[in-house]
Symmetry: C2
Subunit: 337 residues, 2 copies
Amino acid sequence: MAAPAKRFDEPERSALEAAQALVRDDLDRVNRLILERLQSEVSLIPELARHLIVAGGKRIRPMLTLLSARLCGYTGEHHVALATAVEFIHTATLLHDDVVDDSDLRRGKATANALWGNKAPVLVGDFLFSRAFQLMVGVGDLEVLGILARASAVIAEGEVLQLVTANDTATSEEAYLAMIAGKTAALFEAACEVGAVVAGRPAAEARALATYGRALGMAFQLVDDALDYAAREAELGKAVGDDFRDGKITLPVLVAFAKGDEAEREFWRRTLERVEQDERDLAEAQRLLARHRAIEATLERAQAYGRTARQALAPFPSSKAKEALLGLVDFCIHRTY
Amino acid sequence: MAAPAKRFDEPERSALEAAQALVRDDLDRVNRLILERLQSEVSLIPELARHLIVAGGKRIRPMLTLLSARLCGYTGEHHVALATAVEFIHTATLLHDDVVDDSDLRRGKATANALWGNKAPVLVGDFLFSRAFQLMVGVGDLEVLGILARASAVIAEGEVLQLVTANDTATSEEAYLAMIAGKTAALFEAACEVGAVVAGRPAAEARALATYGRALGMAFQLVDDALDYAAREAELGKAVGDDFRDGKITLPVLVAFAKGDEAEREFWRRTLERVEQDERDLAEAQRLLARHRAIEATLERAQAYGRTARQALAPFPSSKAKEALLGLVDFCIHRTY
């Protein structure tokens, strides 16, 4: 199947679509395997999981496994099961990340939890996590199991760190980067690494792909944090300002806080630490971020990670898979959704 | 180390202590490995997990792995890591089972959630679950990984079933048994089975131990459900009537509901389906259970599972490990806490 013609007005979307087109057949098999392994005699499980997992998403993480395997010349069948396992782990973390406390419920989130309460999404996440490990057992490669089990532990650590640093404007940039390295970059890294491992490639190639995936994940999350303040809502497909309303401390805020005067810092403390906000505060936050070029600083940091990701692929000879992986760097850095 | 002298006034406690004494050294190693693998740079993780896991519990599940491996003549080292993995999975499910919704929080549960909110226990559960799989990867046996990954999926299914049947007095006995087979018996079963598998014993022995563990788990849960209405609180170490207050449908209730007249059924519907309760209702529930000998019927069912468990061990020659496993059947059936 040919890649769709490049639209020069939307280079980043085109890069994503080109990557998707290259592994379209494999992605279709991943989607079928997702549906198959979601099945359970307990009907609430596929019902609830479908809500999140079949509805879509960009499928970037499973695509990384498929493209990494292809980059490494893999011709077997296991990459599809591994890509599915990666997507299940990702979905489980989304379900668990949406768990809310009493106070949050009153803020009225429209997540799976609003529909099913807190408990069902937690248990369905556990089911998906277990299914992910069953898929890996089916592949039968202990190294792959070790990589994804370790990544899962690191993700949980990153999520706990996020909880600990939420509402704390004294969070250091270092602590923030450690947090997103865990909650986001660890799975990007593992998704790429297992593609090389399943292909039986030398450790140096697996390490190069791990470096690529980790840097890509960092860039992805930094852009995510910028978009939460700077996106056009219609493109983003969700409300701008979610992080702000949750009191999340992200890099744009840390940059503006560091450069701000005492009155500005008090604004951030009131809105993010004490979470006392009125309807004009998001606009004021955006004004302060603009004054200190905080979005630009965040995107520059993302671009630096993008360069690291590209360099990591240098040892691999030219191929369509390499072109697609390089294209995903462009997508992650320049995306507007 | 010698087993403590048998106290004939407390045969069931004595059986538990004899089993613990037999594998005391291994249990100590499990406890050390638990502490070691709980470690994380994110200090909230060991802090929160310790609250639940180090505080104790009977360690029945890891003991099953240790005793099963010993019954099968295992002389290696891997049983300690597997027993630790089993305890981590158990603790993760406890943490996730304590997740509450808005309405429950107002009932004021004194769980980890009351101290840390809902989200941290969920994420720490995920961490423990991941650590469990890392421990298994260290053991390097894919069959063991498959058994425990499958058990984890079945546990999640059982927990979702419990959610679906809660507050529903029309639950069938069959649905109730399927639910406890998942939420409780599956891990007992897997804990025993992996002991045989790691010892490299023939499939028939692994199946026999799986049958023993599954039946023991069923008996354990049935007695748990009986104790929730019939225990002396000082012995149980927690409040009697928790299941009643949560509107949980358990076998004692199903027996009394089936035998009750319409007024009694309306009592159960009001208290368990609509969860409209006042302070006299628990006593009334206990009176109705006594009238229909529902506790006795539940314990008889537990005894039948106990016989199945004992029979499953028949093919194994006499040994101290076998004696301890038989003793655990007595403990699970006759325990008062």
